[in-house]
């Protein structure tokens, strides 16, 4: 039996948690899901539709919003009670955090950002996991009776596999220290890059753009194509654009239909964020830049002459 920790925000299930359920189903038919907080009750149907046999709903007066350590305490209690072969979760910030806490509570190893799992009865489980934002794969052995792992986003597609799901409520035993770190407020203006993550077209600029002002033609083209502007880390560390627009390993991972890389060399850490784009166009003065090995199309030349002309031509083509 596998326990999945489901990441939800105020009752809205993170879709990556359904991928984690599908990944768990591939390991064992009996997948039981831990949902923390009374507001998570609404997630049970969706979890059942994807194959959860039991939803364990952890309810406690102190659990009013996301509370990472308390979630791990609840998971620890399920581990003791149910002796699962593995506890897995989506590789979301919350999933990684809760499983890391669980690893600390159980004094057990945890494999983050995992792309494949082979369980072993002897307790030497084999995992393959991402390194360098997915630019390298690591095969590792996890020496532990219960495997703890988070699943790298989008390595499996969530599939429906309906089960008649049972809901079981329980009250985890929590100390005040378990709820000391919790969300106490929410503010707007996060600039978490949602716009970027959802954009169909991204016009992205790197060091070659040269200045904040240099982005004018990129802004214009993005607007004409109904897209968003992205950038490399060189650009955010120069203060030309906000960090919410940074694409890459320590920025946002994007998967648009079209990614236009202007004056971006194509360092592996940048590619880690845009390799899922359907079409990549590079505009670069250097025909040998690494980006040429990832782009579908390229224009060799100075972006400062290409981009303004491209803006005009696109405007004309749109009529």
């Amino acid at each position: 039996m596998i326990v999945v920790y489901a990441d939800h925000d105020l009752g809205i299930l993170d879709p990556l948690s359904l991928q984690a359920v599908t990944a768990a189903k591939a390991l064992d038919a009996d997948v039981q899901v831990l949902v923390v907080g009374a507001d998570g009750r609404s997630t049970a149907d969706e979890l059942g539709a994807h194959g959860a046999t039991v939803v364990h709903l952890a309810v406690h007066d102190a659990l009013t919003d996301y509370t990472p350590l308390a979630a791990a305490r609840a998971a620890q209690q399920l581990v003791t009670e149910l002796s699962p072969q593995a506890v897995i979760s989506a590789g979301t910030p919350r999933g990684n955090e809760v499983l890391a806490h669980l690893g600390a509570l159980l004094d057990a190893p945890m494999s983050a950002d995992t792309v494949s799992i082979t369980l072993s009865a002897s307790g030497d489980h084999e995992v393959v996991r991402n390194r360098w934002g997915g630019n390298l794969l690591e095969t590792a052995i996890v020496h532990a009776p219960v495997l703890l792992a988070t699943i790298a986003p989008h390595t499996v597609t969530a599939v429906e596999s309906p089960e008649s799901v049972t809901m079981r409520e329980f009250t985890p035993a929590l100390d005040p220290i378990d709820t000391a770190v919790r969300v106490i407020d929410r503010t707007g203006g996060g600039g978490g890059g949602i716009g970027l993550a959802d954009a169909r077209v991204i016009v992205s600029g790197g060091r070659g753009v040269g200045s904040a002002e240099g982005f004018e033609s990129l802004d214009q083209l993005a607007e004409l194509l109904g897209g968003a502007v992205g950038c490399s880390r060189v650009v955010t560390s120069a203060g030309w654009r906000p960090h919410s627009e940074q694409v890459g390993q320590t920025g946002t991972k994007v998967a648009p239909d079209l990614y236009i890389a202007c004056g971006i060399s194509g360092a592996t850490q940048h590619i880690a964020g845009c390799r899922s784009a359907k079409t990549i166009i590079a505009i670069n003065t250097d025909k040998d830049a690494p980006i040429m090995g990832f782009a579908h199309y390229a224009v060799i030349g100075d972006l400062h002459s290409v981009m303004p002309a491209l803006v005009e031509a696109t405007r004309a083509a749109k009529g």
């Binding site: 925000d9 910030p93 990684n96 955090e97 890391a100 806490h101 690893g103 600390a104 509570l105 057990a108 190893p109 945890m110 983050a112 084999e126 360098w132 390298l136 690591e138 590792a140 052995i141 996890v142 532990a144 000391a180 770190v181 969300v183 106490i184 929410r186 707007g188 203006g189 996060g190 978490g192 716009g195 897209g227 955010t236 560390s237 203060g239 906000p242 919410s244 390993q249 320590t250 920025g251 239909d257 079209l258 060399s265 194509g266 592996t268 390799r275 690494p290 090995g293 782009a295 579908h296 199309y297 390229a298 224009v299 060799i300 030349g301 100075d302 290409v306 002309a309 491209l310 083509a317």
Partner: protein
Amino acid sequence: MNIAVCVKRVPLSGGRWVLNADSTDIDTESSFLGFTLSPHEECAAEAAVQLVEANGGSSTVISLGVAESAEQIRDLLAVGIDRGVVVETDGTEWDPQATAAALTEQVRAGVPDAGAFDLVLLGTEAADTADYQVGIRMAHALGWPVVTNVKGLTISDGVARCERAVGSHREVYEVALPAVITVKDGINIPRYPSVPGRIKARKKPIDTVAGEHPAPRLEKVRLELPEVEERSATVLGTGADAVPALVDVFRQIGVI
């Protein structure tokens, strides 16, 4: 306020990684491009420098790794960190549990003549292994609270107010110090070292202690490069002459 910042020296790649002959590590000889730190960790160091500038106290960088990790520490001393500690390894990789235990030991040791640490800053995940857990494990060992993924941090009256970006909004957390906080790239813009900064850094202390490597429980067996479509971009032309061909591509893929 005494702040510890934990960082990890990692190789810097250009366009592609190259593996060594038995595929157990990155080949840093033939594809050598130097070494660096994760942007998350550069931001953690910048946050420490800013906090000490505002509140007084001291900052220490602790790094588990080969002796040459002192090079990365020296770069941070040049931007205002006060001292460094290398927990020296022979280059074999330590798993996150072992890493957290060794770093915790250095945090417990405190600052010579200045007392205990009040705050430990780390990156949310390391550049290479991205285990997302060293800071959390340290917090458990120290018995301190931990906030991760932090993109906004202010400290007053011994309480850290942390903001974490989630989609289009921010979550707010508050914890009393001492605490562990893991930060993300974008929390600030790290400053570049100045020439006087570099000169001062030469005189700042870097201590070395020996690390004792326990058996790994997350044990690396081998590395491989993921299968990627080998591509070579179709060149549409040179300079502005290529613009009509670009517009054709826009039409073909249906973005106009």
